[in-house]
C-alpha cells in the first residue's frame, strides 16, 4: 500500500473540520407546539424538504401514516436536466418536476427547516404556491429563518431529539449572504399561508409555524 502525503493531509483537514464543528442543542417551541396539537388517534401526512435524517424519520413515524423526504436543496443544486429542457418558466417547471405529487396527495405537516434562507423571493413564492396545492386545509408548515446578515453556505441538517429539542452541527467555513426574510413580509411571499406562531431564538434564528389559510 502506498502512502501519499497529500491524501493524508486532505484526510487530516477533513478530520479537523469535523472536529471543529460543535454539536448544538436548541429548544424548539414551534416543534413543541406542533406536537401538542397532534392527536394520538390520528395519523398524518408529513413532508420533509430536508435530507433524510434517521432521527427525524423515526420521530415522524410515531404519528405519520406517510412521510415524504425530498432533500430539495440538494435537488435544486443538481437538478435533473430533463426538467429544464422545455424552457419557459424554468423554476416552476423544476418544482413540478422535483416535487411531482399525485393529485390526491395531501400534506398535513411540512418541515421546511432553514431552506427559505437559501431561496430568493420568486423561488420561495413558487415553491409555496406549488406545495399549497397538495396541502390539507390548515396544514402546518415549520420553518426556521435566520435574522443575521450571513448564513452557512448550505442549509443545516437539523435532527429532532424529542418533542421540543433539536440538534445540529455548527457550520464551519464559507458563508453566504442571507435572504433575511422579515416577519411582516414573509407571509406575503407565501401565497395561501399565514403566520400562525413565531418564536425568536437566542441564536438569531426565528421559528415559524405557518398554516394554510382559508382565504
Amino acid at each position: 500500500m502506498t502512502w501519499t502525503p497529500s491524501n493524508n493531509t486532505e484526510a487530516k483537514q477533513d478530520i479537523d473540520q469535523v472536529a471543529s464543528q460543535e454539536l448544538v442543542t436548541q429548544s424548539s417551541q414551534a416543534l413543541k407546539m406542533l406536537c401538542q396539537n397532534l392527536r394520538g388517534d390520528k395519523t398524518y401526512a408529513v413532508l420533509d424538504l430536508g435530507p433524510a435524517v434517521k432521527e427525524n424519520v423515526d420521530f415522524y413515524s410515531r404519528f405519520a401514516r406517510k412521510i415524504w423526504i425530498e432533500d430539495l436543496y440538494g435537488s435544486l443544486n443538481s437538478p435533473d436536466p430533463s426538467a429544464l429542457e422545455e424552457g419557459g418558466d424554468e423554476v416552476n417547471k423544476s418544482f413540478e418536476h422535483m416535487l411531482p405529487y399525485t393529485k390526491d396527495t395531501r400534506f398535513d405537516i411540512i418541515f421546511v427547516w432553514d431552506l427559505f434562507n437559501y431561496l430568493p423571493r420568486d423561488q420561495l413564492q413558487k415553491l409555496v404556491s406549488h406545495l399549497s396545492k397538495f396541502c390539507n386545509h390548515r396544514a402546518m408548515l415549520f420553518s426556521l429563518i435566520t435574522n443575521g446578515q450571513y448564513v452557512p453556505e448550505h442549509p443545516i441538517n437539523f435532527r429532532i431529539l424529542d418533542q421540543e429539542n433539536l440538534s445540529y452541527l455548527t457550520a464551519t467555513g464559507a458563508e453566504r449572504v442571507n435572504t433575511r426574510y422579515k416577519e411582516p413580509n414573509l407571509a406575503k411571499f407565501m401565497p395561501g399561508f399565514k403566520i400562525y406562531k413565531t418564536f425568536l431564538l437566542r441564536n438569531g434564528m426565528q421559528e415559524y409555524l405557518f398554516t394554510l389559510s382559508e382565504d
Binding site: L34, D41, T43, P51, A52
Partner: protein, 181 residues
C-alpha cells in the same frame, strides 16, 4: 406477412423480459441465493429463499416470504417485494416490505417505500416517500413507547379536541385554545 427476422426479434425480446425463477436446487445456501457483481438481469425474478444482490437488476423482484439484501455493489432498478429488504447499494423503485425495510449507511435509495417498519441508518441517502400503512402504524405505535408520550401530551394536555384537529376541520382553533396564541 410472416418474416423470419420478426420472429427472431420477438424471441430475442422475450428472452430479455421472461420471468426468472431462482431454481432452489442449484442456488440454495445458508445465506440464500446470490447474484454476483458481474451479473445483470432484466426481467422478473421470483423465488422461495433469501436473495443477495451484488449485481444489477432491472424489472421486478418478488420474494414475498423471504429477505432481499442489496449489497454495496448492487444496483437495482426494480419493484421489490419481500418480508425484509435490506439495502446497502443503489436502488430506484417501489419497495414493499412485509415486515421491515432497512436502508444501510452506504445505501442510496430513490422511490417509494411501503412497510410497517422502516429503518434509516446514519449516512443513508433517501429520497421519496415512506408509507407506513394503517395496519403497520398501529402495530408500530403499540411497540413504541414514545407514541404513547405524544398521545399523552395531546390528550393529557387538553380535555377538548386539540387545536390542530380543530384547524383541520376549519374551526377557529387558535381562539379556542389559549396556547395557540
Amino acid at each position: 406477412m410472416w418474416k423470419k427476422e420478426d420472429t427472431n426479434s420477438d424471441r430475442s425480446s422475450d428472452s430479455n423480459t421472461q420471468a426468472y425463477t431462482v431454481p432452489e436446487a442449484t442456488t440454495r445456501s445458508e445465506r440464500g441465493a446470490c447474484i454476483g457483481a458481474t451479473i445483470s438481469i432484466k426481467g422478473d425474478l421470483s423465488g422461495g429463499e433469501d436473495l443477495i444482490i451484488e449485481g444489477r437488476i432491472e424489472g421486478k423482484v418478488d420474494l414475498k416470504q423471504h429477505k432481499i439484501t442489496v449489497g454495496k455493489k448492487g444496483v437495482v432498478r426494480a419493484e421489490m417485494r419481500a418480508r425484509v429488504i435490506s439495502i446497502e447499494g443503489d436502488v430506484q423503485g417501489t419497495l414493499y416490505g412485509e415486515e421491515q425495510i432497512v436502508l444501510g449507511k452506504s445505501s442510496s435509495v430513490r422511490g417509494d417505500i411501503i412497510a410497517p417498519r422502516v429503518t434509516l441508518e446514519d449516512g443513508s441517502k433517501f429520497k421519496g416517500s415512506i408509507d407506513m400503512e394503517p395496519k403497520g402504524t398501529e402495530k408500530m405505535q403499540a411497540h413504541n413507547p414514545m407514541a404513547a408520550d405524544i398521545k399523552a401530551v395531546t390528550v393529557g394536555g387538553d380535555s377538548v379536541k386539540s387545536a390542530f384537529d380543530q384547524l383541520q376541520k376549519g374551526e377557529q382553533g387558535a381562539k379556542a385554545n389559549p396556547r395557540m396564541g
